[in-house]
């Protein structure tokens, strides 16, 4: 039994840190790769993210003018979708996941690019922020055991949803209509009003809607937004992250991804 738990934990750590399909074809991070990435960036990313990576491309300047989100400003070193602690840079695998899958409702996925091309463009994107030269992001581990979906897990998850005060922003039923959200008090780092995610529509979850995606979001938070990290509360617990993820998924009638 103990061996089973250990194996589950190891598998989960691997999933969180490297939950990307890419394991091969990653070129070296050097000027030649950056130059190749720039060609792809100018062709596919520049329209929203801009020549200088500040999120003010010809199309980007019209996106999110009055409400978040705006296209990512790569120069700040602040990224929402990561497997790393709050405030840290994303890993290369994190960036690869976002480029490949896109962001539902906002950014298209670029799986049409070859793996090598995606790695090349990531190398170029990283060159916009000097933070990537001095910081080494490391994925957060979660030493927990996957719990099966069932009444006990959902009850525990519901209790955690209340204790963590998720309803403050996401609402009691998860509709994104909590009191702080309704008051219009939620702002992103640039001061733009931002909506709390409607948890009954997992197909619109920007950071993915699998159980692993939800646990990753709970652990890391979404930098630049009010969504905080629950890593200090979840890390080291046996099944809290899984129970809460099960409960959040249960708020929707959509079938599991």
């Amino acid at each position: 039994m103990r061996r089973h738990h250990l194996a589950s934990a190891v598998v989960l750590i691997l999933m969180l840190g490297a939950s990307s399909p890419a394991h091969a074809a990653k070129p070296d991070d050097n000027p030649a790769t950056q130059a190749q990435g720039k060609v792809i960036f100018d062709r596919t990313c520049l329209w929203c993210h801009g020549v200088t990576g500040t999120g003010d491309g010809p199309a980007g300047r019209f996106l999110g003018r009055y409400a978040a989100p705006r296209p990512r400003n790569f120069t700040t070193g602040s990224f929402k979708f990561r497997s790393t602690p709050s405030g840290d840079l994303p890993t290369d695998q994190d960036l690869f996941r976002t480029v490949t899958k896109g962001i539902p409702g906002y950014m298209p996925g670029f799986a049409s690019l070859t793996e090598t091309e995606r790695w090349q463009v990531i190398t170029y994107v990283k060159s916009f922020s000097p933070a990537f030269l001095v910081e080494t992001p490391v994925s957060l581990p979660l030493t927990g055991t996957a719990t099966p979906l069932g009444p006990e897990s959902l009850d525990r998850g519901r209790a955690l949803y209340e204790r963590f005060e998720c309803h403050t922003c996401h609402g009691v039923e998860g509709w994104g209509d909590g009191p702080v959200a309704q008051a219009g008090d939620l702002r992103d780092v640039s001061g733009l009003q931002i909506q709390a995610t409607d948890l009954t529509r997992p197909s619109s979850f920007k950071n993915g809607a699998t159980l692993q995606d939800l646990i990753r979001t709970l652990l890391t938070g979404l930098d630049g937004t009010p969504m905080p990290s629950y890593a200090s509360r979840l890390t080291g617990t046996d099944h809290d992250g899984w129970d809460l993820a099960h409960y959040i998924r249960s708020l929707s009638a959509e079938s599991a991804p």
Partner: protein, 242 residues
């Protein structure tokens, strides 16, 4: 007599150069505000009024009467390096969520030391600290949460907020050296162990901005500086060496 003189000469000649250069003094600073104090801004509390109160009065100018001493101003020696031997095991700087406010409201610390975030309230806060446009940390501090610590690497101004209670705010000013202080209720602070010599010194306040002055710190002595902010946001610093 000759032997004594030779002995003293021998001791002086054997003083390591680094030690000779690290003669230290104290800088005593008073920060004053002259002008009318604007009335506090009242904010109606809609979230957790049972803990936070039904109304919060926000006042960014805390001035002692009658001295005019200004609280929560950060005084920093400019253009100075950290001592070569850093103090072992830098103590954490505790930032508490307490009665729906950040305590302390203004904190100064040396880069390389951790901020340790606590929650003493029976409600959830999220302590959200930004450095310019980048998140430094944003953590959910649920009831009875364990403290969360993170080391500050970059010098500069960090803004602290709670997204659940928008009236909560604070500041962290990080320096690359240990020569700084935050003024107390009377507008006073003392900076210890400052290397003797001429130094620029500055004061920063969240509402009134920044002033600069110059001090000469005598070996094993004390230098005094007074900063005066004025209502029209002008002001000046003056020094008085002892």
């Amino acid at each position: 007599m000759l032997l004594v003189a030779l002995f003293l000469a021998l001791i002086i000649s054997n003083v390591p150069p680094a030690l000779a250069q690290t003669e230290q003094g104290v800088v005593t600073v008073q920060v004053l505000y002259h002008g009318t104090i604007p009335p506090p801004t009242g904010v109606i509390v809609t979230r957790n009024p049972e803990i936070c109160g039904t109304q919060v009065l926000l006042q960014s100018l805390t001035v002692h009467s009658p001295s005019g001493g200004l609280k929560d101003a950060v005084v920093t020696i400019d253009g100075i390096s950290a001592p070569e031997t850093a103090p072992a095991g830098m103590a954490p700087n505790v930032l508490s969520n307490s009665r729906c406010s950040f305590s302390p409201h203004v904190m100064s610390l040396q880069t390389g030391s951790p901020i340790e975030i606590h929650n003493q309230d029976p409600i959830m806060h999220n302590t959200h600290i930004n450095y310019e446009m980048r998140t430094f940390i944003n953590v959910a501090m649920v009831v009875n949460a364990r403290p969360v610590a993170k080391t500050v690497a970059k010098p500069g101004l960090y803004r602290v907020q709670c997204d659940v209670h928008k009236f909560m705010g604070g500041y962290v000013l990080a320096s690359t050296h240990p020569y700084f202080g935050v003024t107390d209720d009377h507008g006073n602070t003392r900076i210890l162990n400052v290397p003797a010599g001429h130094h620029d010194i500055s004061v920063w306040h969240e509402r009134l901005g920044q002033l600069q002055a110059h001090v000469s710190v005598p070996p094993n002595g004390e230098a005094t500086a007074t900063f005066e902010f004025r209502e029209d946001k002008t002001g000046h610093g003056r020094r008085m060496d002892r």
